[in-house]
Symmetry: C2
């Protein structure tokens, strides 16, 4: 039997497991009327947002689809096969649709689970955890299932229906990430702007101006804030991680051809043997998915709301999944790639380890159980200025850990896979790509623990708004806090895998350029000024992108603040609880504003490689990709960790440290948290997608860039 059928079968298992978890959620008690009402409003808002978002994105997708279609038919003479291929436009669509679908389904279940989690938490902590975690699992396995389905179906289609040879298949598939990446960028940016604008807006008027607590039902923006959690932290993250997952698999499949399909000594020229080796990333992903399913059954907790114990109960699941995967990956590499390539197993494990370690250090820098965030909280005593300076410094310092881990992992996976500067170059590069697959192999469960967070957060909001007892609030708070930590870990994975995948894509780009060869001298040399200029321009892109998205949050937050002010002024009874605020209006304004603000940064990401490429040519564009990837990696880590640490420092103060709630230190802490919000939930995560999208766009337009660029010496 052809091994490839394992992949769609795996996809089916993952999706069935998601359905099973969805059933578990649906089975849970929906709660009382008030809970259902609140839940309903949130759901409605989130649906309305997504609907409008998909409409906006749809126009963009239609335009790009048309361009790709034209490009794939208008084939200039002498153009090699499989460069811009006729499949790309359609793969662009499937990637975009599946990525969007991942976010949509994840959000559907999250909005169904929030009230149920709050209600279950009335019974016991464990019941609350189980409902929220089941909802997270739906998201985790939908992403993995759809990702496997998308990649494996295309693989099968190209191989059997269109009968492409391995070289053409690898060339075609490398462009297939563009749809997922574009969708992910829109979802992350749009959702990220929405969630943080609502959050900042609600806080600035509610907490700071009027002095009512978070999630108070009198605040007209509070529902928008909850909707934001769903469209940003759930739908946005789902689309994002779908893209990461698919991106890592696709680039490993494409580079596998380079490693095993070509001039390598002793390599078989039998197409089927090569196809078999190209399937390894897919099969590893399936195995990781099954290990993740097993892991989920080990997630349960006792009655203690102590963070360490709670975290332990989630960690147990992820560690078991990772351990199982480490064992099962060995025979796969051994039997499919053969004894002589067993080093690839080392690359897979190095990726897996790197992910775990980056997660650990992200937690170290952002959790208040460790020194850095404790010190940060202390700096609030001398006011907002010092907590900001300390937070910026903490974020910058924190880059050292992922930088070293990724560096070691790159070198290790290159060397272990038999990389060298002769024949083994391509094997080594494949090693780097496969290490990203290793890192994301257990995404099913790591994403489940991550996506669980916003559900718990929403549950807390609903518990507060529905006036549930103190004890329930304590439980949902504990679950929410836990969610912050797992979110940090999740971000670590997203950043680490983004760096590895982006580097693999750059490699794929240079290979593609070199394949086109001709009289072009490809020389990515440091002393080539075009390359240097490319690196400089590239490095500036994440900065500009971050600035744009941060500004967008500001602009959208202002529009929310204006609306809340209007409502307080016109409906004077709101603050006394006599009049009901107009929640829907806030959601609507936030939706419009964030969708408008989403356009420009996304367009920048798609146009920059084309424009820079047409001016500087292939050398410049390679430099640009390199500069953008590396500056983006630093900025993403810096922004995510600074934001995470500010958030937790504030929570630490709120638990009674340095004066506790209401003290000046707390006010300073709130400033830090507010500054950190757009950094960690809008700009930072979006940069991960940006750097990959830049590479993929360059790959898709490689032929045009190579033939029509301006600066030639």
């Amino acid at each position: 039997m052809d091994l490839i059928w394992i992949a769609p079968a795996g996809a089916l298992i993952a999706l069935l497991f998601a359905v099973y978890n969805a059933y578990k959620v649906k089975r849970a008690d929906q709660g009382n009327d008030r809970v259902r009402e609140l839940s309903g409003i949130i759901k409605q808002g989130a649906n309305a947002y997504l609907k409008r978002q998909y409409k906006t994105v749809g126009i963009f997708f239609a335009a790009v689809f048309a361009i790709l279609l034209i490009l794939s038919f208008v084939k200039p003479s002498g153009m090699p096969e499989g460069l811009i291929n006729v499949f790309t436009p359609f793969a662009f669509l499937t990637g975009g649709i599946f990525s969007g679908l991942s976010g949509f389904l994840g959000m559907k279940i999250a909005t169904a689970a929030n009230g149920r989690t709050a209600t279950a938490a009335q019974n016991s902590l464990n019941k609350g955890l189980r409902v929220a975690f089941s909802a997270g699992s739906v998201m985790g396995f939908v992403v993995v299932g759809l990702g496997l389905l998308d990649t494996s179906l295309w693989f099968i289609l190209l191989k059997y229906a269109f009968k492409l040879d391995p070289a053409a298949l690898s060339g075609a598939m490398i462009t297939f990430g563009i749809g997922a990446s574009t969708m992910a960028l829109f979802a992350r940016v749009g959702g990220g702007i929405f969630t943080k604008a609502a959050d900042v807006g609600a806080d600035l008027v509610g907490k700071v101006e009027v002095g009512i607590p978070e999630d108070d039902p009198r605040n007209p923006a509070t529902i928008a804030d909850n909707v934001g959690d769903n469209v940003g932290d759930v739908a946005g993250m789902g689309a994002d991680l779908y893209e990461s997952y698919v991106g890592s698999i696709i680039s490993a499949v494409a580079l596998a051809f380079g490693a095993f399909g070509t001039v390598q000594e002793g390599a078989s020229t039998d197409g089927n043997v090569i196809f078999g080796k190209m399937m390894v990333p897919l099969i590893l992903a399936v195995v990781g998915m099954i290990c993740s399913v097993i892991g989920t059954f080990f997630v349960r907790c006792g009655t203690s709301t102590e963070q360490k114990k709670l975290l332990g109960s989630l960690r147990r699941g992820t560690y078991i999944a990772a351990g199982l995967f480490a064992v099962c990956a060995f025979p796969i590499v051994y039997f499919i790639l053969g004894k002589e390539n067993i080093g690839v197993y080392g690359a897979v494990i190095s990726g897996l380890l790197a992910g775990v370690l980056i997660g650990y250090f992200t937690e170290y820098f952002t959790s208040d159980t460790y020194k850095p965030t404790k010190k940060l909280a202390k700096s609030s005593e001398t006011g907002p200025a010092t907590i900001i300076i300390s937070g910026l410094s903490l974020g910058m310092r924190s880059v050292v850990a992922p930088v070293v881990i990724i560096s070691v992992s790159i070198i290790a996976s290159f060397m272990l896979s038999g990389g060298n500067f002769g024949d083994g170059m391509n094997r080594g590069l494949f090693g780097i790509a496969i290490s990203a697959v290793g890192m994301l192999s257990t995404l099913g469960i790591t994403l489940a623990t991550d996506a669980y967070g916003p559900v718990a957060d929403n549950a807390g909001g609903i518990a507060q708004m529905a006036g549930m007892e103190e004890e329930v609030r304590d439980r949902t708070d504990a679950l929410d806090s836990l969610g912050n930590t797992t979110a940090a870990t999740g971000k670590g994975f997203a950043i680490g895998s983004a760096a590895l995948t982006a580097l693999s894509l750059i490699v794929a780009f240079t290979q593609r350029i070199n394949m086109m060869g001709g009289d072009f001298k490809f020389r990515i040399d440091i002393t080539n000024p075009v390359t240097l200029v490319g690196i400089i321009l590239g490095a500036s892109l994440p900065f500009i992108f971050a600035a744009m998205t941060m500004d967008s949050v500001g602009v959208s937050a202002q529009s929310i603040i204006g609306e809340v002010h209007r409502q307080f002024k016109e409906k004077t009874g709101i603050l006394d609880g006599k009049e009901k605020p107009d929640y829907a209006k806030c959601v609507d304004i936030c939706t419009k504003s964030s969708l408008r603000q989403m356009i420009m940064p996304s367009v920048l990401a798609v146009l920059a490689p084309v424009v820079i490429g047409l001016i500087l040519g292939p050398n410049g564009i390679t430099g640009m990709l390199c500069g953008a990837t590396i500056a983006g990696f630093m900025l993403a880590v810096f922004m995510s960790n600074a934001g995470g640490a500010w958030d937790n420092a504030k929570k630490y103060i709120e638990r009674g440290n340095h004066g506790g709630k209401g003290s000046d230190a707390h006010k300073a802490g709130v400033v830090g948290d507010t500054v950190g919000d757009p950094l960690k939930d809008t700009s930072g995560p979006a940069i991960n997608i940006l750097i990959k999208l830049l590479s993929i766009v360059s790959i898709v337009f490689a032929y045009i860039i190579m033939n029509y660029y301006l600066i030639k010496f």
Copy 2:
């Protein structure tokens, strides 16, 4: 006559002009007893700091000197001549001493001029301006004079006394920047920590806690704040720009050999002709210096304190100098390099223009006469969080201008100088290096307008403390404000030239490595994982360095705050004006703390290339330099501009906008300013030096790195 003698003669002219300006300052009225007393205390504190700083740095210099000396004698067999040479240790010393001396003399005159400026401002605005500007001119021409002296004397010594051929001379001189860079880093970091710790400390206790105005004599830290302006903004900046100036000249001299001394078709092999061409950077620098002298005579103002007019009077001088230089540079290039290389003139002008443009855009992003800073000031209305987010975004967005300008300038100077990927490569690279010389050619006067700022700032402080009339305060305030703008322009030059020089040094490094050649395959290819890892590690260095220096400011500020609290508590009469605070104690604490905090970041800068080099080898180190330069460039622009904009936004609010002094918007503005302080005056400027020092250290240790590195595939 040998053209080279023009350089030391030029040095002499510059130094004499500095003496003339010093005489003008000394001739001015020293002011009344109170002014002299205050001036004296500041001077004493600054001297005490510098003395201790030089002692600390001295130990470090002695150690490095010993290591260099040993390395230059223990020559492994097979090592080519002129790689680590016997001159390096001594040039290390002269560079360090001259760089330190530049700062020292600049500070001497600045501390002599502050009281005199305040006193002269009692007569008229123009008189105040003239005294402060004369003091700035001393600094400007000391830096230029010593820089010319250092480089030209070594050139002469190596050529005539040691009879080196052009190749050996170029190889030897490229290492000579190490002394100046090391000294500059210490001075910038140490001085930067001092000045901002004192500033932040004084503000946090004085303005925020006790509510007394800036520069109030009752604040024990106020003198430390003034001392800080002198040791940081004057002595630190002097050492810094000495390093930039010398660095740009040296790298252009070294790359000139590559461009004109070797295989170039039709090139003369006559040593003297080549020497002549290698002198072009020095001679251009001399001409620029003379144009600067002429420019200074056009600096004068009327009675209006309006910023635009005041700025115009300073600008007149710099524009005249630049215009003259543009005219005079032509015959020099034409007659020395010959008609066939006249394109080099274009490179020089492109550098000159780039400097002016970067200065303009720096002003655009940081001055409150333009939209960005006005918008930033407006964001203070919604509190400290929004002004911080907006400032971060402004800083990140502002990288686009220098990035585009430098990119265009690199490509233009490469192409205009006849660069291509064949024989012309080295000519093009020389073009990039000479454009940095063009940018800094009129440093004499640009630095004068820059160094004038802290003198005016101090004068304002003294006028306040000495209780001078309102009118005088208005004049010194106007002069001080102007200083902020010129400081921003100066930073633009420092950053732009740092990027160009650092890139030239990287090129010099790769040339050096290739010269050593052998069986080593030099391949700076994007698909080389060692290079990639080098870039990643390199890009993280500026982040880590920035974090360390920001933390240092925090730690030192805390010690000042503690001391001021102690004094207020023990001497209860201070705040009523009945008891005198102990200014000296604050200065002393700041000195100790900043010197202690200076060590680690500086050691990082020197050790990182050696450690990374010994692990990753030449490919990795080249990647590292590239990553550090480009990430450093972005961060430096981001930090400087964000800080500058916050500073001016606060001043804009203080002038009565958005509620004016004492309003909530003003409080938010103060938070922004305080956050920006370490960014713009400590971390940002120090990064410029960091990126060059990394390159020079790599060059000096190139031989060792090449032969003893760990990771070889």
